[in-house]
Symmetry: C2
Subunit: 353 residues, 2 copies
DNA sequence: CTGAAAGCGCTTACAG
DNA sequence: CTGAAAGCGCTTACAG
């Protein structure tokens, strides 16, 4: 029975007040449940009925102007277009924002940005009184935060800032890579090759380091088992071909695209995956892993979780700021979970120790 | 020399007025270049200098409250997460919004949504006085627009509404598919198989229809050349295997994932792509096409363009609404461009007519 | 328990 | 050419 009428003009707090026979002040109090304010249950009921009757929705703009809180946060993403699945960062951020009754505004920034560009994008959020700003980057480790980012509470995704004053969340590339080796070792592999990336990005170093960690704690040699290549299918193809000379029983690729090349290399050499050769990727970049024969075992990046974490941290920061209790900014490192599919099996023959 | 000071408190229009020795009214007029208002160049210069000096930025919230225009538009996307590359819809929408000095807020909706859910998401935009709302769907053809979507100017991406009252933009799946056949025919192919999808979505029908169009205008028979399969790599594999019985010289797959299966099927039969068999996909779903050997010729969906178009249409509509001139809502159909890579070659032998 | 008044930071008739 | 005043729709001390 709620307003199926097509209300011409949206009604304001004054309309509700008039209909309920009280002042706007009282309407505000009951609808917001203002603390330390007692309103008789009878009056409150009348107000609620009137609000319902009129389909009253408080104007958030007006409220924001008065309370100096827009309840909006801005997400500045670096090149959402080219990033594998960065849409999930947005999704995580948006859903967490909704949970907290916050609106998420987004602006995309170019890759390799002109710092002044970024500042002007941030300014756009500032102009709209964003309560806080999230800066999501890819391919970076530590960045110099744009100057005006510090004018409001902020959070970083995918990088730390040089000053270390902004809460940041990062994927645990290193740990994820190490867990791949652990799993491979547990399956009986001893000669595990790594098709590394030649790109100069933090992920390159982190994943290589994780591979090294895993091999080291299993007491395994990596001698001749690391080959560098381009980070695409072609690079993975070449790297795997080179690796195959060393007769590994498994090859762990820097990313899924390289793993795709590894499949091709295996086919060229007449090797079956996973019976003759196990292959593992990284990124869980849909739709690749599921489209391969057999489906690729890989490691996922916690995009959704990073987006959600950043919003949560920012919201807490904003609360803290309001209460005058700024929070510490320890970089949060989120797990990169191993996604097991069908490209790993025990080695065909026991490898000699 | 602009404000390298860390301004404690952000300054308002009153501060500028005081510094320039004029009234807030005058400041507003010169900064907004209000039409039909002449301010002496001398005064104007003083105002601009003062604004610059103080790093004054108008509070958009306050302005919005006064002008009844938030300059914000809402984008409600259906399941951005699972859609191949729908991030580009957001990108296109955001960039067009920035060009028009509009802010884009986004909310994601579940797939197969509870209509009431959608209404409450839209309500969130309405509460924030969004000037307009874009509703982006996938996998639909015509939808029943959520009731409250009509309360403000709106635009649809990927679907038309039953009433036909909302501007809508759609990809020309049919034309894109037809252009694939045209190209194949121009290269000399006559026996062109189609690995169709069994999914019941508009894209299925559109692409099949386009294939049929192309074959018809080339006067080619499709007898036994259409095989239906699941819309993933496995489905493409099976469909292609079946198709190969009919000795086609080219197979056109419903999407890139199926094309991936086609590559596998060709390999199983000892067929080289493109010399023995040409393969074409649809979607240009990164990173698949570039990761295949050889790189896959396919058709791209105009995600970016649809996002940008919707914002432009909406902005015009809002303008029109303000000027009391509502626009007509003809569905806009955007081209799906053919992306030629390396998976197509002339047929090895002249096929008998 | 309830309300009158001020004010958030702007813009905009209107007057001079 | 310039400014005083009202008002957008709320919330919040403060008073009663």
């Amino acid at each position: 029975m709620t307003g199926s009428r097509v209300s011409e003009k949206t009604s304001g707090i004054r309309d509700v007040a008039a209909l309920a026979g009280v002042s706007p002040t009282t309407v505000s109090h009951v609808l917001n449940q203002t603390p330390h304010t007692r309103v008789s249950e009878e009056t409150a009921a009348r107000v609620r009925a009137a609000a319902e009757e009129l389909g009253y929705r408080p104007n958030r703009l007006a409220r924001g102007l008065r309370t100096q809180a827009s309840d909006m946060i801005g997400l500045l993403t670096e090149e959402i277009a080219t990033t594998p699945h960065a849409g999930r960062i947005i999704l995580g951020a948006q859903e967490e924002a909704s949970r907290r009754n916050l609106t998420l505004a987004i602006i995309n920034s170019e890759l390799h940005p002109d710092p002044e560009m970024d500042e002007s994008q941030i300014q756009a959020f500032l102009d709209r009184q964003a309560d806080g700003i999230i800066y999501a980057t890819v391919y970076h480790d530590v960045i110099e935060a744009p100057e005006n980012l510090l004018m409001r509470p902020a959070a970083l995704i995918g990088a730390r800032d040089t000053a270390g004053s902004i809460p940041a969340v990062l994927p645990d590339e290193r740990g994820g890579a190490a867990s791949v080796v652990d799993m491979l070792v547990a399956r009986g592999h001893r000669r595990i090759g790594f098709a590394a990336s030649a790109d100069d990005v933090p992920a390159t170093r982190g994943r290589l380091q994780g591979y090294l960690d895993g091999m080291a704690r299993a007491g395994l040699s990596t001698d001749g088992l690391i080959v560098e290549g381009g980070s695409d299918a072609r690079g993975g193809y070449r790297a795997t071909l080179a690796l195959l000379e060393r007769e590994p029983t498994a090859v762990f690729c820097y990313n899924d695209r390289m793993a795709m090349g590894a499949y091709r290399a295996a086919a060229d050499r007449g090797l079956q995956i996973p019976s003759d050769l196990s292959v593992v990727g990284f990124d869980d970049q849909a739709p690749l892993p599921e489209s391969l024969f057999p489906a690729l075992t890989t490691v996922a990046l916690p995009h959704y979780e990073m987006g959600a974490w950043a919003v949560a941290a920012l919201a807490d920061l904003i609360q803290g700021t309001r209460d005058g209790q700024p929070r510490a900014a320890d970089p949060e490192v989120l797990e990169c979970p191993l996604i097991e599919r069908d490209s790993v099996a025990p080695p065909r023959r026991r490898a000699a120790a």
